[in-house]
Structure formats: C-alpha cells, structure tokens
C-alpha cells in the first residue's frame, strides 16, 4: 500500500493490561479513513474509553501498533508524542474545561502545543490564534459568552467550548469520548449534530465512543462494536441489526 492511499489511522493488534493479568484490550485492529465518522459502541467495561486513549497515548498500550499518518505513535518518545498530539483533537465526557478560566482562555489552551513556556505562562496568544478562537466560538454559538468563566455555563455550552478547544488545534483526527453522557437527550442530539457538521465542514475524521446505540446509528458512517476487549462488529450502521447487537451486548442479553 502506498503512503497516499494508506488510512489516516491504522490500529493493529492493540493490547492493554492495567494491573498484572487483567487485560482490557485483547488485540484490536481497525482503520479510520480520511473523512470517516466512526462510532465505537459496547457495554460498560468493554474498553471503549481505553481504546480511544491509546490513540493519543493518554493510556499506554502494552502491545500492538497505532499508525497515524504513517507514523507508529507507540515508538515515539515523550516530546515527539507531544508534537503528534497537536494534530489530534479530543472531546471529553465531562468536558474537562478549566473552570476558573474564561471561555476564550479555555479555547486558546488548544494552542499550547505550539507555544513556549514563557508565552504560555503569561497567556500571550498570537493575534492569529485569538482571531481563530473568536471565529470558532461564533461557529459553536457562544459568541456572547467569550469572557464568562467556564463554570458559569450550562452543560451543553461547556461541551461546545470543548469542541472549539479541539478545533483550534486544526486537528487531523478527532477523538470523542462519550460526548453526551453528561447531557440530556435533546442537548445530546444537538451536540452530536454539531460534531458531525463540523467534522464534515473541516474534513476531519472522527473516532467516537458512545454508549447510546441510537445516537451512534443516526450520526455515524461506521460502527465498531466492542465487547470485553475484543472487536465484535465492524460495518455500516445499516448492518447493526438485532443479531449484531445481541452479539456485542451478549453479556447483558444473557
């Protein structure tokens, strides 16, 4: 396979064990193409969250390969990995904003990977970054909240700050970890719709953990089903029938 046709993200035989003996991921393989929106579904404890964190090495895998743009991320040292993380945006279940900072300052932290210690200490962001942050906050509908403290916002608004923070990185891949678990059903659909719309607009592929199967089927192009650290399903949403769900969630069905 030549470099130009290689998938953006290619995971091979990924294994993780936390404490001795307990294996969380038992050899997972899949690819994510240039503009795909991939959902990872599965029961709690299946390893969804661990899988997504192995891609940017917030969790350290114990074996396998994670190729991102042709580079095996698991072979990089700390500094090289930091440079790769700048290209991978992440959106979190609990938003993970810095509560005491303003909405603007939160979004601008997405640029820290490009800044030195002195400039980040005094929050001396470039004019360009500031302009980008304002434009993105306008895009996610928070233009009237720039100077509010992050903890003064509602859950849906906080998640939109999180989305803007990931986008200001100009990422080549978005990792999304249960973006809607902390939100009510209506806001959940809005947030999912926004992530999908933005992914298309910015041409970014998405790898998204989501326990809500209906949301996954509605918003994603492809579904990966995970159970007990193993891949049980990989295909289009149309293929997720009763049989496939029974297979993925077999422990709960039985």
């Amino acid at each position: 396979m030549s470099a130009s046709t290689a998938p953006l993200l290619s995971v091979r035989d990924l294994k993780v064990s936390y404490t001795a003996g307990k294996q969380i991921l038992k050899g997972i393989s899949f690819d994510v193409g240039a503009t795909e929106f991939v959902a990872i579904i599965g029961p709690s404890g299946a390893g969804k969250s661990t899988l997504i964190r192995c891609v940017n090495r917030l969790v350290e895998p114990t074996g396998g390969e994670v190729r991102f743009g042709g580079v095996d991320l698991l072979k990089l040292d700390e500094a090289e990995m930091r440079r790769q993380r700048r290209n991978i945006g992440m959106i979190f279940q609990e938003f993970n904003l810095i509560d005491r900072l303003s909405v603007m300052d939160n979004v601008l932290t997405g640029r820290l990977g490009y800044m030195g210690n002195w400039r980040s200490l005094f929050r001396l962001y470039s004019k360009d970054d500031i302009a980008k942050a304002v434009a993105l906050l306008d895009r996610v509908g928070l233009i009237d909240h720039l100077d509010k403290r992050a903890d003064a916002l509602s859950g849906g608004q906080r998640q939109r700050v999180g989305i803007a923070r990931a986008l200001i990185q100009a990422p080549r891949l978005l990792l999304v970890d249960e973006p809607t678990s902390a939100l009510d059903p209506k806001i959940s659909r809005e947030v999912m719709g926004m992530i999908r719309g933005i992914a298309r607009e910015f041409q970014v592929p998405v790898l998204c953990n989501i326990h809500d199967v209906d949301l996954a089927l509605e918003f994603c192009d492809r579904v990966i089903g995970l159970q007990d650290g193993l891949k049980k399903f990989d295909g289009p949403p149309a293929g997720v029938d009763k049989h496939a769900l029974a297979d993925i969630y077999s422990m709960e069905v039985l």
């Binding site: 940017n56 917030l58 930091r82 440079r83 790769q84 993380r85 700048r86 991978i88 945006g89 992440m90 979190f92 609990e94 938003f95 993970n96 904003l97 810095i98 509560d99 005491r100 900072l101 932290t109 997405g110 640029r111 820290l112 990977g113 800044m115 210690n117 980040s120 200490l121 999180g162 923070r165 990185q169 990792l175």
Partner: protein, 281 residues
C-alpha cells in the same frame, strides 16, 4: 448413615459452643488489658505531677499576698509609651507580610516536590519534599530566629527569614495536598492538546489549587503577625524587641502596654484575614 450424620452435627455444635466460650473469655482479657492501660496512664500522670509540679516548684515563694502583688504590678498600665508603640507595631506587620510572601514563594517548589502525583522524579523527590516540609514545621520559629540572628545578625531581616522558613511547611503541605486532590479531567485535556509538563501544571493544576493557595497564605499571614510579636525576644525586631526592653527595665506597666498593643494587632490581623479569606473563597 444416620448415626454418622448425627455425629457430624454434634461435632459441629461442640465446635460452635467452644468458639462462643473462647470469645467470652477473650472479652474478659480485653477488659483486663483496658484496665492495665488506663492504670499505666494514671501512674504516668501522677508521676509527672510529683516530679515536675510538686518537686520543681519553689513553694515558699507562693503566698497569696506575694502572688497578688506580683500580678498587680502589671495592672499599672504605662500609657506614656503607648504612642511609641506604633513604630514597632508597623514593623511587626511589615515583617509578617514580607515573611509570608517570601515563605509562599519558597513553598511553591516544595509543594511541587511533595505532591505525589506530580513530583518530578517520583518517590525520591516526593520524600525530599516531605522532609523539607517537616523540617520547616518541626523547628520552632524562635529557634529559626536564633539560627538567622546568628547568620545575618540582629534585626528585622533575621525575623523575616525565620518566619518565612517556618511558613514554608504549612503552605507547601496544604498546597501539595490540594494538588493531590485535583480533578484529573483538565490535566488529561491539557496532555491531549500536546502541552508539556510545565503547561499541564500551569493550566491543568494551578487554576484548581489557586483558591487553596491564596486562602492558606492569608491564614499564614495572620499566624505570622502573632509570630513576629515575639521574634524580638531573640533580637529579631518588631514588638518583641519592645517587650524585651520593658522586661529588661523591670517596667511591668510598660510590659502591659506592649502586651496590649500585641493583642490589638492580633485581633486586627485576625479580622483582616477572615475578611480577605471570605472574599477569595
């Protein structure tokens, strides 16, 4: 078959009864141990009273009129020096403020070392941080004062340094504990954007512990006002020096005046720090 089953049941019953008897007996020995322990504590207390209070006191000196006249000497409040008190009082406040700021500044690296989730070289630097905290706290401020008077000479500078070093322990310990309790979410988010260790610290952790830092620094300022009123006793400036002079002159009324000033200052410090802490937290 039936007989065997009965024999088994009987054996089980006997074991059970035996266990109950053992437990009952152990209750009794627990009671004996408790009495022995309490008796030992009582004996120790009596022995200390005998050795220290009864044996070590000059009882012939303690007569009702004697104690009365000595105590009433302090009532003769010396108002003439009251106006001279403002200068050492101001010096005391300035010493406390400088010492607190300096101590807080020095506490930052100690807290960094002593918080086990961010300590740079793991166990080794963590223990180093903890040792520094204990060292600062376990040596009394007057002893630190003696050390710094010897090092930099008599005067307020020695007092400032002594209190600053004494402040490191409390501030760094509370801050380190706050760091260990931070919400890991923002830390994770900062790592995910490609931030380096310093940036993760500045953005993921510092904003979360800032209220703790400010609150405890204000509290420590209040404590340092108290401390700085006695630093003069070892020659390290402030109201303590005024107290020392009045004592050296056997001017009991003057001692009362200094103590009164100290009391006013401490009350003022407490009010200000309570107000400031409410504003921050």
């Amino acid at each position: 078959m039936v007989a065997a089953a009965e024999a088994l049941a009987l054996a089980a019953e006997q074991r059970h009864a035996q266990r109950i008897a053992e437990l009952a007996a152990s209750r009794k020995s627990a009671r004996i141990r408790r009495w022995a322990r309490n008796g030992l504590i009582a004996a120790l207390v009596l022995w200390s009273v005998e050795a220290i209070v009864i044996g070590d006191t000059d009882w012939s000196r303690i007569t009702l009129p004697g104690v009365w006249s000595a105590a009433t000497r302090f009532i003769d409040f010396d108002a003439s020096i009251l106006l001279e008190m403002w200068q050492p009082a101001l010096e005391t406040v300035l010493m406390a403020t400088l010492a607190t700021l300096l101590g807080a500044f020095m506490a930052i690296p100690v807290a960094w070392l002593g918080a086990n989730n961010i300590s740079p070289l793991g166990r080794f630097t963590y223990l180093m941080g903890r040792v520094l905290m204990t060292l600062s706290r376990s040596v009394h401020e007057v002893v630190w004062g003696l050390v710094f008077v010897a090092a930099v000479g008599l005067g307020a500078l020695a007092g400032v340094l002594a209190m600053a070093v004494r402040s490191i322990g409390f501030i760094s310990k509370t801050v380190a504990e706050a760091i260990e309790d931070v919400n890991p979410g923002p830390v994770e988010a900062m790592r995910a954007v490609g931030a380096n260790r310093f940036q993760v610290l500045m953005f993921g952790i510092v904003p979360q512990v800032l209220p703790t830092i400010i609150g405890n620094v204000i509290f420590e300022w209040d404590v340092n006002i108290r401390r700085s009123t006695i630093m003069g006793l070892v020659g390290a400036g402030g109201l303590g020096l005024a107290l020392h002079r009045q004592m050296a002159a056997y001017n009991y009324g003057g001692i009362a005046t200094v103590i009164f000033t100290i009391l006013l200052l401490i009350i003022a410090g407490e009010l200000i720090s309570a107000w400031a802490r409410r504003r921050v937290i």
